[in-house]
Structure formats: C-alpha cells, structure tokens
C-alpha cells in the first residue's frame, strides 16, 4: 500500500497521498498545502515541522519533496519550468493545474542543477 502523509492535531486529521500535494508554503506559524484538486488547506504547523513529518512518515519516499528556502516545500514531480533570473518556478501537470511560485535565485539555481544531474 502506498504511503500517505498524515497530519494530525488534537481536533482534526489530514490524510493525503504525496502525489496529491503540489507544494506547501509557509505562513509564519502556519503552513498551507496546495493540492492537485485545487484545494488549499491551512495547517497549524510550521513548515519545518511538516518537513519532519514527511521525513519520518514517508522515509525515502519523502524525496519527491524538496525544501526550497525557508518558506517552500515542493513536489518535484510537478516541476515544469524554472527561470533563475526571474526567480520563477512553475509547478504544473501540464493539464489541470499551473502554479507559479517564487524563490531566491541561488535556490532555483541549485534546483536546476539538481534536476540536470539527475538526467545525466
């Protein structure tokens, strides 16, 4: 059975398949999950705590997620376009959704190099 990510608080619980997550952004003490079905869910966890949950629950499978700087975790499966000078990253499945996020030039440069290395 494929692993799901479970994010639980004392009153509610979110169970979500990793491939349904496009990206998770930080909003201070909160984080927002943007899902492939266009839903957005605000969670009362900091991004670092979500990163720990991914690492612990998904183990090696968690490597489909990449932490970019302080405020972003992206699903690498949906990286569609990177423009380093414009600090632009488009996450898309080339069919149903298209999300543009920003990150620092240095972080995007590293992301680009990472993906380039993977095809060599």
């Amino acid at each position: 059975m494929k692993k799901s990510l479970i994010i639980s608080t004392s009153i509610d619980l979110v169970r979500i398949a990793p491939e349904q997550i496009i990206y998770i952004s930080s909003d201070g003490n909160y984080s927002t999950i943007v899902q492939t079905d266009s839903e957005m869910r605000v969670l009362s966890y900091q991004l670092g705590q979500i990163e720990k949950m991914i690492s612990q629950q998904l183990g090696m499978d968690g490597n489909i997620f990449i932490r970019i700087g302080k405020s972003l975790i992206i699903n690498r499966s949906y990286i569609y376009y990177i423009n380093v000078p414009k600090q632009k990253l488009i996450l898309s499945d080339a069919a149903t959704f298209n999300h543009t996020v920003t990150a620092s030039k240095e972080a995007l440069k590293q992301l680009k190099e990472l993906l380039e290395k993977e095809v060599k």
Partner: protein
C-alpha cells in the same frame, strides 16, 4: 524526533534523502549492540559457571537481578484550545490565578500580528486584539526604543532591552542589546518594537520601576504566543514571577496601567481594558503604538 537543520533562503534540501545515512547509522548501532550483548552474555555465563563451582563447595548463593528503566516524557500542553484553521480569527480569553495574582490570558487564533501607530479604528472588524506596544516619551511624544512599522524604521533608541518582532508572520520575543531582527524587519516589511524585558529563557528579569500597576505582556510559551494582563495592580517583579511560573519562556512588557485596548472573542464579544479617554493617552495620540492582531 530527529532534528532537521535550519535552512537559509538560498538553499534547497531533498527531504528524506539522508535516510540512507540513518540506515547506515542504525546498522552500526545494531552491530555495536550485538557486540555489547555478547560480552554481557559471556560475563553472565562466566558468573554462573563460577557460582556453580562454589555451590559444589557446599555454599549457597542467591542472586536477584532487578532491572527497572523509567522514561519520563516531558510534554507541555498548549494553554489555548486547538482551533480548526478554517475558522475565523478570534481571541480566546482565559482567566486564572498565579501566585494569588488574578490574570487574564488573551490567546489569538487564526490571526497575524502587526503594529500600528496613531489612532486605532475601533470599527475595524478585522482586529481581534489590540494593546499599546511601545512607550511614548512624555516630554517630546516620541516612541521609546527602536521601532519598525511595516519595514519603515520610526525610532532607533535602545533604552529597553526587550523586543518583539513580527516578520513574514513569524513572531520572535526576546532580549538583546542589538537584534538583527531590527534590520530584517526593515528589509522584509516587518514589525519591531522594544519594551521592558520580563522573562528570558524562563528566567525572571528585574526592572527598575518599583511601583504597582495593571501589567500587560506579550509572551512566548513553547511557541504559543499570547498576551497576559493582571486584573490587579502588581509590581514588575511579581508579574514577571507569575509569568515564569506559567512556564513562559520569553516575555516583554506591553504598556500597562490605563492604556486602552480590546479583544474580540469567539462569540464576537468585545473585551475592553484600560481607559479610552485617559488624558495622558489622548495627549500622546500621534505616536501611540499598538500591537494589532488581525484575522487571517
């Protein structure tokens, strides 16, 4: 829980990647544990063998081995309730008594902290809590201590070592002569103000003024941010001690006494405190500053 290293904005990290290192580490731990176990087993067998020899010499030895391992897990439950993130912002109000001091705790939910200077709009329904932040000098009406309003520095002084910063939604309460968060607030359209430090890393900090008044503070308790107000007039020392006893890690003062403010609870009820028409506050209206928690 394994700690994850902090990350800078110009870095990336593949999550779960260093799990491989973890496996290697676990393998080593397993090997070392096995060796230790074998040595222990050898020692026990040797002991039994030698005992058996002694028994043969008509001596009786009774051995009782008792092993007890206690693991105590320290947890610090939140003071406020867990609130569904889809709910509209509000302030949870709790009354309690610490060291015979009646206190009121205001816990904002689904809200973000900003600062405001000047008259505050009482009709603004997005505000769920506000209280005066920095002090204002009685002689020239200027803000006391360094102050940044949405990235714009308005004051630079260092008369008080406590500070509170709200940058990109992250709130930091601390004590320092110089804090890089002042510069960071100017760079990131953030907020920063200074006040008397009350508690640093769980340790009480004494302050010069010795009088008694209604006291207020903004506090950080294991990452939970909330405001505390005494319902009776208290000295700085007794107030700070009460905060320490409430397990607060860091706290800085908010303007106390009759300084005006309010909170809006879950039912929409407005909890006002201080005196809105106080002559002294009216006189300083121009540079009066507020912490303002607004609904997200």
């Amino acid at each position: 829980m394994r700690e994850i290293k902090d990350i800078r904005d110009d870095e990336i990290r593949v999550i779960g990647e260093n799990k491989l290192n973890l496996r290697v580490r676990k393998l080593w731990i397993g090997i070392i544990s096995a060796i230790v176990f074998l040595i222990a087993l050898g020692a026990v067998l040797l002991f039994i063998f030698s005992s058996h020899k002694r028994e043969k010499n008509t001596e009786t030895i009774s051995i009782s081995i008792e092993s007890e391992e206690k693991t105590e897990v320290m947890t610090f439950p939140r003071i406020g309730q867990e609130v569904d993130s889809t709910k509209k912002g509000f302030t949870e109000v709790q009354d309690t008594t610490i060291n015979d001091i009646p206190i009121r705790i205001f816990i904002p939910h689904n809200a973000e902290l900003t600062l405001h200077v000047g008259e505050i709009d009482k009709q603004d329904s997005s505000i769920i809590y506000t209280a005066q932040a920095a002090d204002v000098r009685a002689d020239n009406g200027k803000i006391v201590g360094a102050f940044v309003l949405e990235g714009k520095p308005l004051a630079w002084g260092l008369s008080k070592k406590g500070f509170c910063a709200s940058i990109d939604g992250e709130i930091t309460i601390g004590v320092a002569d110089n804090s890089p968060l002042f510069e960071k607030a100017t760079e990131k359209n953030g907020y920063f103000f200074r006040q008397y430090p009350l508690v640093k890393d769980g340790v009480l900090i004494d302050n010069e003024p010795k009088g008694k008044a209604i006291r207020r503070a903004i506090c950080d308790r294991y990452g939970e941010i909330f405001m505390v107000e005494t319902l009776t007039q208290e000295s700085f020392h007794d107030f700070s001690q009460a905060l320490v006893d409430l397990n607060i890690g860091n706290a800085v003062y908010l303007v106390g006494s009759s300084a005006y403010g309010w909170a809006v609870d879950e039912t929409g009820k407005r909890w006002e405190f201080g005196d809105e028409n106080n002559y002294m506050w009216q006189k300083m209206a121009k540079n009066r500053s507020y912490i303002v928690w607004k609904k997200k």
